[in-house]
Symmetry: C2
């Protein structure tokens, strides 16, 4: 572990996993609309939402994706890590009141390159709502020691 309690790349092994869960409330949707400027009717207007294939308002896809960022940055690899890339497939809608579970699993550790690749998935109940993959640059104990820190 690094001094911020995050994993060094040397600590990581394939199959390690971490998860957070959050209930997506109307407050989240309103705040996310303000922060993102995404005020699309499908997020804000229940009457309009009822006329769509979704049958009601849905949360912003990037709102659920932000939970993946949170579990990567706060749990695994955790503090000190640098986010390099993320792919996201939006598979199903998330509705106000749904509890999203964001789970990441180490898929590949490239110690020489100082990179880790994780499977990243969001679920609501048994349904996958987002899947994808993230690449990050964790801290390195070897580099820290070489720098005398």
């Amino acid at each position: 572990m690094n001094p911020q309690n995050g994993y060094d790349v040397e600590d990581l092994t394939v199959g390690m996993t971490a998860e957070i869960a959050k209930t997506i409330t109307d407050a989240d949707i309103v705040l996310f609309a303000g922060v993102s400027t995404d005020v699309n009717a499908v997020h804000m207007d229940e009457e309009f939402g009822k006329t769509t294939m979704f049958g009601g308002r849905i949360a912003h896809g990037m709102l659920s994706a932000s939970l993946l960022s949170a579990v990567l940055g706060n749990r695994l690899p955790g503090p000190g890590v640098i986010y390099m890339s993320q792919s996201l497939r939006f598979r199903a809608p998330v509705r106000p009141g749904d509890t999203v579970h964001a789970k990441v699993t180490v898929k590949e550790v490239l110690v020489d390159k100082g990179r880790v690749v994780l499977d990243t998935i969001c679920t609501v109940g048994d349904k996958v709502v987002i899947d994808g993959e993230a690449t990050l640059m964790p801290t390195s104990r070897k580099k820290r020691e070489a720098a005398g820190k």
Copy 2:
């Protein structure tokens, strides 16, 4: 255009482009931390930020990415579109006070499949902070007319 003022897939041509810009303030970072649960010190703690390679606090990468979602959902293709997938490469940090320009450009229109692929890029000044690609399912005039709507 569809009844919500979004582009139908039949309206889209390669090279069409749209952009939004937003200044990322401390308020955005605090609200995004609450919504995402990502309270990593690099976003919240200026003293810690100063000890990192970034030299100070940085905004959440997904906060800038959310502006891409906004321009796709609100401008091009705009209302009625369904977000299928997004890739993101985080190329450089965004700091409180930076103005992020989120720009999308139509790269490929697959009318038969009802899909459009766009290049998606966020810049601060001349610097690319995020690049990637999005695939979406716009509304279709042909389908709407076939359904008698």
